[in-house]
Symmetry: none
Subunit: 124 residues, 4 copies
Amino acid sequence: MIQINQSSSQPIFEQIITQIKQGVLRGHLKPGDPIPSVRKMALQLSVTPGTVAKAYNELERQEVIVTLRGKGTYIAEPSTNRPAEIQVTKAMKTLEDACMELIYLGITEEEMKEKIHTIYKQIK
Amino acid sequence: MIQINQSSSQPIFEQIITQIKQGVLRGHLKPGDPIPSVRKMALQLSVTPGTVAKAYNELERQEVIVTLRGKGTYIAEPSTNRPAEIQVTKAMKTLEDACMELIYLGITEEEMKEKIHTIYKQIK
Amino acid sequence: MIQINQSSSQPIFEQIITQIKQGVLRGHLKPGDPIPSVRKMALQLSVTPGTVAKAYNELERQEVIVTLRGKGTYIAEPSTNRPAEIQVTKAMKTLEDACMELIYLGITEEEMKEKIHTIYKQIK
Amino acid sequence: MIQINQSSSQPIFEQIITQIKQGVLRGHLKPGDPIPSVRKMALQLSVTPGTVAKAYNELERQEVIVTLRGKGTYIAEPSTNRPAEIQVTKAMKTLEDACMELIYLGITEEEMKEKIHTIYKQIK
DNA sequence: GTGGTCTAGACCACC
DNA sequence: GTGGTCTAGACCACG
C-alpha cells in the first residue's frame, strides 16, 4: 500500500506521512479505518520501527490519526480546527519554489494548471 | 539582493541557488550580468566561501551561470538543451506533494490556480 | 583497492570517481555491491571525509552509485537513461586531444587501435 | 585561426598550445611559418599577453616553435629527438581515461576505432 | 552507524 | 584578482 523509496532524498518517515495523508485525500483511507501497528508497518516496509513511530507521532500531532491505547491506531475524523497559518505558508512556499523550478524548465502556465486540475481530480 | 534565512531547514547553498534562478526568471538578472565573486558574496551573506562555491558549482552544472577563467561569474545565455527528463519529473513530484498538502489544509482548486497565475505574472 | 596519487595534477576527488567507474567497468564492482562509507574510505585513502563525500556526490549524480538513507552506499543498477549528449561530446573532445598529442609524439594509427583494443579487452 | 573558449575548464594557455600543435599536425602551419607576436596574438584572442607568453614558452620547451630574438616566432622543424617517455605515458593515461569514460557512456569498440580513423585522416 | 551541511583557513593555478 | 581543491573539525538529521 505504501511505497518506500529507499534512495529518495525525502526521509523515509516523511514518505510515510505524505502517503498516509494522500491515502486519506484519495479516499483509500477513511475516518475510523485501522492502520497497522508500528511493528507490522515496519515489517511491511522493511524499515526500523523507530522510523514508523516517528511518522505516526507526527501524524498524530497533525490529527490525521488517533491512537486508542491498547486498541490500535485509526484514521481520525477530519479536524474542525482551522489549520495552522504557518503550515499553509510553508506549503505555499514549497509550491512556489516548485513552480519556479518548473517554469525554469520550460513548463507553461497552461500545462501547470492542467497538472493542478489532474491532481484535484484524483482526490475523493 | 539575496536573503539568507539561517534558521530555515533549506540548506544555505540551496537558498542561494533558488534565489539566483528566481532572479533570472523575474528579470532582475539578465544573461551576461556579472554576479559577485565567491568571496564577495560570502562576505555579503556572512557565510563561508565554500558554501557560496558549492551553490555556484551547482548553478554552473545547470547552465544557469558561466564562470570565465580568472574573470568572474556571469549569468549564462538561456540553454538550448532540453532539460533532463528526471529534473522535470522531480519538480513535478515536489509540486504534487505541495498541492496535496495544501488540499489537506483546505485550499480549493480555484485558490490554487489563482496562486499559480500570480506566480506566472511575477516573472518577466 | 583505490590508489590515490597525491602528487597527480588530477584532483583527488576525480581520481576516486574515475577509479570507481573503472572498477565497475572491469567488473570488480557489481550492481548492489556496497562501497565503503565516506569515513572509512577517507581513512583508507588518508584524505578528509569531505573529499570522499564530494566524489560520492558526483558519482550519485551520475547514477553510478546510490546511497540508501542511513544504510550506506552501493553500486547502482546500470542506468537506463541515455547519457547526456554533452557528456559524450566532452569525452570525445578529450579523446581527440589525447590522440592528437599521441600522434604528435609519433604513435601510429595501428598502435593506437591496438591500445583501444587492449582497453576494451580489460573490461568485463 | 585559434578559437578560445573562455568558459572551458581547460586553461586558456593550454588551449593555445593544443591548437597550435593541431595546426601543425593538420598542415595549416608548416615549419618556418611565422606565428603572431605575443602581443598580436593576445589582441586577436582578447586575452592578456601573459597567457599567450605562457603558451609560447611551453611550446618552445616542447620544440614546437622557435623564437629568433628580434625577428619573431616561427614553427620549428620537426624534432628528431625521441619524445620523452613520460609525455607518451601521460598522454596514454589521458587516452585511457577518456576511453573508459566513453565506454561507460555506451560507445562501442567499433565506434571508437572509427573515431580514431577519422582523427588520423584529418592530419596531413 | 550513515551522509549532509557548514565553518575556518590554507594553498594553488589561472588570468 | 578569480575560482578550485583540500584539510580539520563541528553539528545535525536520519535510521
